[in-house]
Symmetry: C2
Amino acid sequence: MQEPSPSIIRAWGRLIRTERTVVGRIEASLKSAGLPSLHWYDVLLELKRGPGGRLTPREIEAAVLFEQYNLSRLLDRMEGEGLVRRIPYPGDKRRQIVEITDEGRALQERMWSVYGAAINRFIGDKLTDREAGQLSALLLKLLQE
Amino acid sequence: MQEPSPSIIRAWGRLIRTERTVVGRIEASLKSAGLPSLHWYDVLLELKRGPGGRLTPREIEAAVLFEQYNLSRLLDRMEGEGLVRRIPYPGDKRRQIVEITDEGRALQERMWSVYGAAINRFIGDKLTDREAGQLSALLLKLLQE
DNA sequence: TCAATTTGCATGCACTTGCATAGAAACCAG
DNA sequence: CTGGTTTCTATGCAAGTGCATGCAAATTGA
């Protein structure tokens, strides 16, 4: 095997470590405010953005990169909390539509007030907009293919 | 709350998504080679680097950013597989020393041949060394504090 | 048109992680 | 010293995740 170059290895290590650290900090902010985790937020936000606050599980899955079975059970829990509602998909009985409830919208907003502040604190305060743009561009290269 | 700027939000989203995607690709490489996960590798590598192949759990924890209870149980499993050995810490009966075994070293090497190749493929092929350096520098800023 | 395949979602089971806390040893302040 | 505190590791229990597979509905193709 051709050894990866030191700068590549370093970048990879930093990517993992940084993600873990920043996610940890942000999750801690949410938790200490008594709010659920980022996964819940991701789903709520996607739904809110979807047409009429609705998406199919497959669409959510693609947007947030969860496994099908994990999303299925996450939706169970969120439905149990009254944050989303599953309704039948007209014309295809295999599929379903997930719709965000008013309660779900309210939670998304409450979460954003904490989450947004955490993003400011743990990212916004550390990078200029220009640097953030550079970072996004570099990360995009890794997503290719 | 002061809304985070769009470029900050975008960078944050990319960070999570990229990490998730690349980790997923690399884990898939390991799995399809019948090898254990990155967490195991991280522990093996830290130990191998430690003096005499030894570290305390706390040292490993700090290096790899695992939770104490998760590391404790991961070490149980690794010890069960004969990759690692726990030995008493002289002079402090609360503590312990974890030592990598020959089998552990062998596994670390087998994993690296797959892992290193995956890093090349999923990162090395997508970034120049110069870009990797820029990425590391930007991520380092996020780790500060 | 209908058998075979694919698609969408759910679920049993084992494994892993999070949380709280236990228990033992070491440390520290008076 | 010694009683209270801190440090280090382990663990019971609940929650979350991965894997394989199930079932039902839709789609495909000979």
